[in-house]
């Protein structure tokens, strides 16, 4: 399938779930979908279109917490980014880790750094942060504040 055929196929197949399609360039397309439909759309792109799951990235945009799931279709040189916008008060989304293993660690990382709850994740432990890090403090949120009273924030000169 060519690039246009794939994008039109996705638009047709998931027309209920797709909110917006932003055609950035010849090699990149952003598809904003409803959070409920993520597993369905991502599994279709991964398993049926034979895409490679590159990475997911989480961003706190003050209005929402956004996750971008990046898939590459190497045979046509196209990067599809699935964008979901989550409620900032209670960010929750279905986990992709049961569908493909590559999503496991990046979801753990987003869970600890942004506080997104991945429903159905097999093992939602901490990945990077230190054990003494307090619960409920997420360093990559916009409203993060220093919690460590012993931290030294000067150059020492």
């Amino acid at each position: 399938m060519t690039r246009e055929e794939i994008i039109n196929d996705l638009k047709e197949r998931f027309k209920e779930d797709i909110i917006d399609v932003f055609d950035k360039s010849s090699r990149r397309v952003y598809i904003e979908i409803k959070p409920e439909a993520l597993v369905k759309v991502a599994s279709y792109i991964f398993k049926d279109l034979k895409a490679r799951f590159n990475i997911a990235s989480g961003v706190d945009t003050r209005l929402h917490i956004e996750i971008l799931y990046h898939f590459t279709l190497e045979y046509i040189n196209l990067l599809i980014s699935l964008r979901v916008k989550l409620n900032r008060e209670k960010p929750e989304i279905d986990s992709l880790a049961p569908s493909f293993k590559g999503a496991n660690w990046i979801e753990r990382e987003m869970h600890e750094l942004l506080g997104i709850n991945f429903k159905g994740h097999p093992d939602l432990r901490r990945l990077l942060l230190a054990p003494e890090w307090p619960k409920g403090v997420y360093p990559l949120r916009c409203d993060y504040e220093e919690w460590d009273k012993n931290a030294i924030r000067d150059r020492g000169v």
Partner: protein, 141 residues
């Protein structure tokens, strides 16, 4: 000068520890060991374990997890042990000074004997820093 210290200065064995650096300082440290700069002519040799080493060479801004490991390594080192901080990150944490994961600078965790600034420092700077450190220890005794 005591015999141990004389032996230490004759051929300091170096243990290289990266506490979460971007690897650029590590590349420069490795460059010191290659034939072009050949730090081995000063008797310096990279030791595989801290228990064999006289010098602890630290790169990178210590983050919360690696700071514990650094302290543990320093405790395991046979004394007298010289600590050398290489690069801007281990000196003052560089751009990671306000970072949530780098609460304390290196010299608040272990005592540091020599600071080699630069981002990354040139191999010449590293060699000059180490030679100065050896001279300082010799001179002070």
């Amino acid at each position: 000068m005591s015999l141990t210290l004389r032996a230490l200065l004759k051929s300091p064995w170096v243990f290289h520890l990266a506490t979460g650096s971007c690897n650029n300082c590590d590349i420069e440290v490795l460059d010191c060991l290659t034939p072009r700069f050949d730090i081995e002519r000063f008797g310096m040799l990279l030791a595989p374990s801290i228990k064999h080493a006289d010098v602890l060479l630290v790169t990178g801004a210590c983050n919360r997890k690696s700071a514990i490991r650094l302290k543990r390594l320093y405790d395991q080192a046979p004394k007298p042990c010289v600590v050398v901080a290489i690069g801007e990150c281990s000196l003052s944490r560089g751009i990671f000074m306000p970072s949530y994961n780098c609460p304390v600078p290196l010299d608040k965790i272990v005592p540091v004997d020599a600071y080699i600034p630069g981002c990354p420092p040139k191999p010449e700077a590293i060699i000059s820093g180490v030679v100065k450190l050896i001279q300082k220890i010799k001179g002070s005794l």
